[in-house]
Amino acid sequence: MSAPMRIALVGTPNVGKSTLFNELTGLSQKVGNFPGVTVDPLVGSISSDNQQLELIDLPGIYSLDAVSEDEQLTIDVLTGRHKAISRPDAVLLVMNAQNPEKCLVLFSHLAQLGLPLMVVVTMVDSVKLSGGVFDDITLFHELGVNIYPVVGRKGLGVTEVRMALSNGAWKLPKVPEIEGTSLEDRFAWSRAVVAKVLISGSADVLRTRIDGVVLHPVWGTLLFLGVMAFFFQAIFSWAQPMMDGIDTFIASMQEAVEHQSINPTLRSFLSKGLLSGVGSVVVFLPQILLLNLLVVLLEESGYLARAAFLVDRAMGLFGLQGRSFIPLLGSFACAIPGIMSARIIPSYRDRLVTIMATPLMTCSARLPVYALIISALIPAGTIGGVFSLQAAVMAGLYALGAISGLLIALVLKKTMFKGAVIPFLIEFPPYRAPSLKSLWVTVYGRTKDFLTTAGTVILGFSIALWILTELPQTDRSSAASAVEADRVQIEQSYAAAIGKAIQPVFAPLGFDWRITLGVLSSFTARETFVSSMGQIYAADVQESDVPLRNVLRSQYPLAVGLSILAFYVYALQCISTIAIMRRETGSWKWPSIAFAITFTLAYLASLTVYIIAS
């Protein structure tokens, strides 16, 4: 069979391009995986009797002059200048029937490319519903290419488009006769065409009414807080039972392996390396599914643009944009889904700045560490007889993380990402019910993408950590008890050797080699710190029958506790976050920079706290 025909799916933002792409290609789509791109375009295939087609979903553009890196990618592909993605054979342009002016201006640019073209017009139903008329025959005569009206959300007309694509209904567009080359001239031509093909119906009164509430300074803000509370509740609490279920399932598998009479090293690898590695990937799935589901719903329904309008001023103080709010909020549950949701930010630079700030938001994996250290080393007194000192410290840690993250964003925006400031500019899309198929295809695609890209890195790291903490294997039979054997194992491991070797680095922070080991081992997930400390002090805990926190209290002064807390606020010690950062930014550069910045901050913060407190 000959090479597939390659078609670029192009359109201005908010025309329903993604929905159409999902309807056309369904589950056949996959992440493009092109080297050196700032955004991975999705590629889907369509097969018919006589031809194999490949559809590539490119970031939205308004013209052939880019404003962001994402748009540059689309333009480079269309003009044949992209290094990794070869020029497509044809262009499928998506146009919004309700608001075709900008789409026609884009057409006037695309017509000069010399590529065969076809136009799909979305939201024709909305025009009809409001009593308007959209004349696709006249449009065909004006543009010289075939026009296909669809209702993407309901899948109407999609079959016709698919047939047209493979039957070669391609035509070279008529190059519009525009006097002058300015945008004003192009808009004048576009408006003249719109006047011929569109009779707008009555104004959307319902939308105006909804906007009156949703964008109201008081009611809109309250609604926004409500939506965000719901959003946070969903990923923070509702995902928990599913995550617990996964943990229990993995634990039972590990249990089963532990009882197999096989080589002890192999057994340890299967149970503590492979299974717990797989577990630490799969455990993210509930949050990723829920968050992606909610983000797509917010985006497709048209609410996200309104929310961005409301919070833009506040986020602007830190050099971020309105949409940065979602990834930052999501990161309070977990930075992995949080960073994934940064895809809603259309500009690469803004996306990067937001991603760099997310790991500083206090994620749920830090909670067990904070809880252990606070209960062990912070006195149980009250401030002014009302507020618990321990609770105040906890709240302080949350605030410190959030403020530091936002300040990092601000500094990055003023230094590394200086220039090319695009102020807030947004189109308000109409409110609409999302397409269920599109929703499912997107969530499925992103989840699969997480498993295959970030998931494999996380698994690899987990196995590397197993090698460090469980090898060389000690002779368990000589130990007095299982607990004692665990303690000996971790104390004899490579990680312990490394912990002891690099302990001098951490000595100024008040960390002994045990804490250093706990910190190192918690790279798989921060909460591992608790179980590692538990393992190290297991013997003490069992002998004296007191909780771990009491053992820690007898071992370490307050200054060390504060130092550990300060370290965990800043340090990016989570391999999963590093893996997803690598995935979403396209290189190891940004996770490395983030790691360097946060490690420096963590070290300095701990050092300062330790010196002051002791």
Binding site: F309, D312, V421, P423, L425
Partner: protein, 82 residues
Amino acid sequence: MNLESIPVGEFCRILDIQGDVLAVRRTKELGLVHGVVCRVIRKAPFHGPIELAMTLGNIGIRTSEELRIEVEPVQLQRSEAA
């Protein structure tokens, strides 16, 4: 006069857009070109973004040092408005 000084509910005509080259171009690409008449729908508090209604579709925009929009007020009957 500049866009911010147009009260909510009033109409104005775009005369000139100045500032960062990219910001100016994007503003125009969204349809806010010279001569266009639009209506100020609402302003977010604390000098936040401004929502503008044009003939087809609404946009949100935040003016700043990088994006200054010069307009002239227009008296329109409601029936003429989009």
